[in-house]
């Protein structure tokens, strides 16, 4: 558990650094992906159970079900969130392509100069 949390914290720092400090637009978008994955990792680790089983009741597991079944909600939510992130990233990349056609660069500072 503690290793998961440390990894999540590292991902958060890396992602936030990428979004804020990197000049290249693609790197910013990668940073955004890393930052979202930190939340996914944290969220999914909430539902983690050592030796857990799928939350489906069968005649065999009816006694051990209450203690061993994992909470399915975080997994469902993270799946939804991954889909959302995928579509946002796809849209962001297509806008990036358009930006490259206009500005002939992906450097955000140079883009600002070119507009004025």
């Amino acid at each position: 558990m503690i290793i998961t949390l440390i990894t999540a914290a590292l991902l958060a720092v890396m992602g936030a650094y990428c979004v804020v400090a990197k000049k290249n637009l693609l790197k910013k978008l990668i940073g955004l992906g890393i930052f979202t994955n930190f939340i996914h990792l944290m969220f999914i680790s909430m539902g983690y159970l050592e030796g857990g089983i799928a939350p489906i009741i069968t005649p065999e597991n009816i006694l051990s079900f209450p203690v061993r079944a994992v909470d399915p909600i975080p997994q469902a939510l993270v799946l939804t969130s991954i889909v959302v992130q995928l579509s946002v990233t796809a849209l962001a990349l297509s806008v990036t392509i358009l930006a490259y056609r206009h500005f002939k660069t992906l450097d955000t500072d140079k883009m600002r100069d070119l507009r004025d």
Partner: protein
């Protein structure tokens, strides 16, 4: 019954590119408007359980008088904007309407839902449609604005998701009413609250996070600027209020919100004065008005919340009116800069009158609707501290300065552009309707105050909400 409103909008979004006719999205949006109007007229709390699972297990939609009011405004504005866009948007019209339907579906879902994760999903549908619509013109300006939006928007959404994840980890539920029963005054809950409010403040451009809005809202096509500046910003305010009062059940003066509201008001107003781009100026004015709303509900009193909701309603109506009126000017001349426009009053008298009504209303002059809500804000702040009232009046004076400047340089003076075409009736009609609503609500404020006060009462009565959803438990 309310689920059909969303189904119609989503179906409209998917059928528009198939049939490539403007009547498909118009019919979808009109249908959802009629559904929301009937829900609003009934005036009862509606609970919609998906697939029959009763809360807190399934997803529920809870429509009380505040939601119903917001839903009515959202679909009403979407309808006017859709009618307007049939002539304003000249190319790639079916793509535009697809995105507009998705945006309305997202807005409506966010306003109606009683489940925090469901709210997040609809918020993302809304955001993705917004990113697409801001970039719709695909010129240099639009792409740069869209890029700014598309990097900051997901960052804000991640903070909201983080807050939701923390709330789920602490309470084990996603239902708003069920979370509300399990809240404790505790540092971890406050952290979750901070992440949620931080993300939403970034999305709705409250002062430390206001820098992106003026680059984003004005570059979209004018009808979309109208939607963004009115209902999208308004929905952000709605969620903040919902989280604050329904989930966390705050009461009393919240100085943090008052302080941010005051800062937002002043800064938005000051920067708006020096703008020369008309759309950019109205965008800064939106920031300033959002500050008023933050200040008013930060007071936490019944009158304050009612004033905030009324100002929210007025801001939605007036900002749509102003952006749509400016859109007609841009449609004719292709220019946004005040210095290049001038003397349009003789050529577009109706647009001038409507823009004037909108400007006077947002300044807060009687007998228009903005006066009533600003008066409510003044009297609500007077009960807490007269200093806040003084600041609110001074910011109103600043509003007066920049709207008079815009009005004079666009409509008065020497004529600099010539208008050859006649304004299409479908573009003029929404503007006239909105201006008429402004005057009507100003002359007969009782018509709106009843709805606004019952919305404020529904919002502040947390236990009633919980009982309605969880059924006595």
């Amino acid at each position: 019954m309310i689920e059909y409103a969303i189904i119609a909008l989503l179906a409209g979004a998917f059928l528009t590119p198939v049939f490539k006719r403007s009547c498909v999205p118009l019919a979808a949006i009109l249908f959802s408007f009629l559904v929301m109007a009937s829900v609003f007229m009934q005036g009862q709390t509606v609970i919609m359980k998906f697939s029959g699972w009763s809360p807190p297990f399934g997803i529920v939609w809870v429509v009380d008088s505040f939601n119903a009011l917001m839903g009515l405004l959202v679909t009403g504005m979407a309808m006017l904007v859709a009618i307007y866009s049939t002539k304003y948007i000249r190319e790639r019209r079916s793509r535009f309407f697809t995105l507009l339907c998705l945006m309305t579906a997202g807005l409506l879902g966010v306003t109606l839902t009683g489940d925090v994760f469901n709210m997040y999903v609809f918020f993302e549908i809304l955001s993705i449609a917004c990113y697409g619509l801001v970039a719709f013109n695909t010129d240099k300006e639009a792409i740069e604005g869209a890029l700014k939006y598309i990097v900051l928007g997901p960052l804000a959404s991640s903070f909201i998701l983080l807050g939701i994840a923390m709330l789920y980890g602490l309470t084990g539920t996603l239902n708003m009413a069920d979370i509300a029963t399990k809240i404790q005054p505790d540092i971890t809950f406050n952290m979750a609250f901070g992440f949620l409010i931080g993300g939403l403040a970034l999305k709705s451009a409250i002062v430390p996070f206001h820098f992106w809005l003026p680059d984003v809202y004005p570059v979209a096509p004018s009808p979309i600027s109208a939607m963004l500046s009115s209902v999208v910003a308004g929905t952000g305010m709605y969620i903040v209020m919902r989280i604050l009062f329904t989930i966390f059940g705050f009461s009393g003066v919240m100085w943090m919100f008052v302080a941010f509201g005051v800062l937002t008001m002043i800064l938005g107003g000051l920067i708006a004065i020096v703008q020369t781009n008309v759309k950019r100026m109205i965008a800064y004015s939106t920031i300033s008005q959002n500050g008023y709303i933050f200040l008013a509900f930060g007071l936490g009193t019944n009158l304050g919340v009612a004033a905030a909701i009324f100002h929210l309603v007025n801001n939605i109506i007036v900002k749509s009116l102003l952006f749509l009126a400016v859109g007609i000017i841009i449609w004719h001349t292709g220019k946004k800069d005040m210095r290049e426009l001038g003397g349009l009053g003789k050529q577009l008298p109706l647009v001038m009158v409507c823009f004037g009504i909108g400007a006077l209303s947002i300044i807060g002059l009687p007998p228009l609707n903005g006066f009533v809500s600003k008066w409510m804000i003044y009297s609500a702040t007077w009960e807490i501290s007269p200093v806040l009232t003084a600041i609110a009046v001074i910011v109103s004076a600043m509003t007066l300065i920049y709207y008079i400047k815009a009005f004079a340089s666009v409509f008065l003076g020497r004529s600099k552009c010539e208008i050859r075409e006649r304004t299409p009736l479908v573009m003029l009609l929404p503007v006239i309707i909105l201006a008429a609503v402004c005057v009507f609500l100003g002359v007969f404020p009782q018509a709106a105050i009843g709805a606004v006060e019952s919305a404020a009462a529904a919002l502040l009565n947390q236990s009633q909400y919980i009982t309605a959803v969880l059924g006595g438990g």
